[in-house]
Symmetry: C2
DNA sequence: GTCTATATTTGGATAGAC
DNA sequence: GTCTATCCAAATATAGAC
C-alpha cells in the first residue's frame, strides 16, 4: 500500500510504516526501509515524529482512536436494544475492525499491527496500549458479564483472555485468507464476521447453555 | 530462565535466546543481549551456530522436533481408538504444547517463540516452519476432516485457519495467565487444556451439530 | 518542510591468541 | 572451545543549508 505520491510526506510515512511494521515487526522494519519505500528523506521521520518510537505510537494511535470509537458506538447501540445476545456484542467488537481492514484508505495492515503491538509485553508501547485500549476492553467485559451471569468472575476472565487473544490473531490473519473467486470483498468480510462471531460465542458460552441460555 | 551456569555454553545460549526471543522478538533481541545474559562470549554464537539466523533456527528446532513427535504420537494413539471425538484430537494437539510449557527444563517460553515465528510471514524462518511443521498440521487436518465429514473442504480450512491461529495465540499467552492461589501447576494446566479444547471444539463443530454430531 | 551530510550508537561477524 | 580485539555494515538521530 505505497500511498499515493500526492499525499503529504507525513501521511506517506505513516502509511508505509504501517505496512512494513505489519510485515516485519517494529524492530524488524528500519527507518531506512520506511523512508525509502515512502520515497521521502530519512530525516523526515525525526522531523515529524521525533523518533522511531514516536512514529510507532502514531501509526497505532491514528487508527486505534477510530477503531475504539467504532467499537464503543456499536456496543452502546447494541446494549441499548432489549433482548440483545452474546453474538450482538461480539459483532460490535469484530465488525469495526474488519470494516477498517477493507476500507479503501488502506487500513488492511493495521489489524496486524495491532496484533504485533499486543504481543509486545514490555516497553512503552505496552503502556500506551493499556492506556488507550484498556477502557474499551473493560466495557466489553462488562457487557459479557451481564450476558453470562452464571459464569463466575474468574472463569469469565479466563475465557475473555482466550477469546481476546484468539480474535486478535484471527483478525490479523484476515487479510491473508484468500477469498474464493466470484466472492465480493463485502461478502467475504460478512462471511468472516459470521464465523468469528459464532466461534467466539461458542467458546464464551461453552458449558453454560443448560444453565443460562435458551 | 537464565540457565544454570554448569550447562555448556551452547545450551546456555539456546536457553537464554529462547527467553529473549519470546520477549522481544527475533529482530528485537540482539546477540549482545543474548550473550551478556548467558554470560558467555559474544563470539560464541557464531562459533556454535554460524549466524544469528542459525541460532534462531536452532532455538526453534530444538523443541519443535519434540513437540511434533509428541503431537503425532498422541494423534495416532487417539485416532486408533474406536469412537474418538473431536475433543480427543484437539487434546492431542494442545496437551503436548502445554506439557512442554510446564516442563522443568524451562520450555515455558518456547510456545511464545513459536507464535512469534508463526507471525513472521516472510524470510527463511517461514520456509523452515513450513518444512518442519506443515506435515503435522496436515495430519491433524485430515483427522478433523474425518470427524467432520459434513463440512466441505473450503469451509473446514476456514475454520482450521482460525482455530490454529487462535490456539497458537492462546497457548502463547498461557504462561502469563496467573493461576489462582492454592491451585497446583498441574491442575492449572489441566484447567487450561480443558478450556482450550472445549473452546476450539465448539468453534470447529459450530453449525454442524444437527447434521453430524449426536 | 525538505534536503545533504554527518555524528553516534549498535549490531553482526571475523581474526587470531590462548 | 573460549577469549580479546576489531572490522564493517546498518541503524538512529542530528546539524545546518536551502
Amino acid at each position: 500500500m505505497p500511498a499515493p505520491s500526492n499525499f503529504s510526506t507525513r501521511e506517506r510515512i505513516l502509511s508505509v510504516a504501517e505496512d512494513l511494521f505489519a510485515r516485519h515487526g517494529f524492530a524488524g522494519a528500519s527507518l531506512r526501509q520506511v523512508t525509502a519505500a515512502a520515497r521521502v528523506n530519512l530525516a523526515a521521520v525525526n522531523y515529524h515524529f521525533g523518533s522511531k518510537d514516536g512514529l510507532i505510537e502514531e501509526v497505532v494511535r491514528r487508527r486505534l482512536d477510530d477503531l475504539n470509537r467504532g467499537r464503543l458506538a456499536a456496543l452502546e447501540a447494541t446494549t441499548r436494544r432489549e433482548g440483545h445476545v452474546l453474538e450482538d456484542v461480539l459483532d460490535a467488537f469484530i465488525r469495526p475492525a474488519l470494516e477498517q481492514s477493507t476500507a479503501d484508505d488502506g487500513g488492511a495492515a493495521f489489524v496486524r499491527v495491532l496484533a504485533r503491538a499486543w504481543a509486545e509485553s514490555d516497553g512503552q508501547l505496552r503502556r500506551f496500549l493499556a492506556d488507550n485500549y484498556g477502557h474499551v476492553l473493560r466495557e466489553f467485559a462488562l457487557a459479557f458479564q451481564r450476558l453470562l451471569p452464571t459464569v463466575d468472575r474468574d472463569e469469565l476472565h479466563w475465557r475473555l483472555d482466550i477469546v481476546a487473544g484468539a480474535l486478535t490473531y484471527a483478525m490479523a490473519g484476515f487479510g491473508m485468507i484468500q477469498r474464493r473467486e466470484g466472492t465480493s470483498p463485502t461478502t467475504h468480510r460478512e462471511h468472516t464476521i459470521e464465523h468469528l462471531v459464532r466461534f467466539a460465542a461458542a467458546g464464551l458460552r461453552e458449558g453454560t447453555q443448560s444453565r443460562a441460555e435458551g
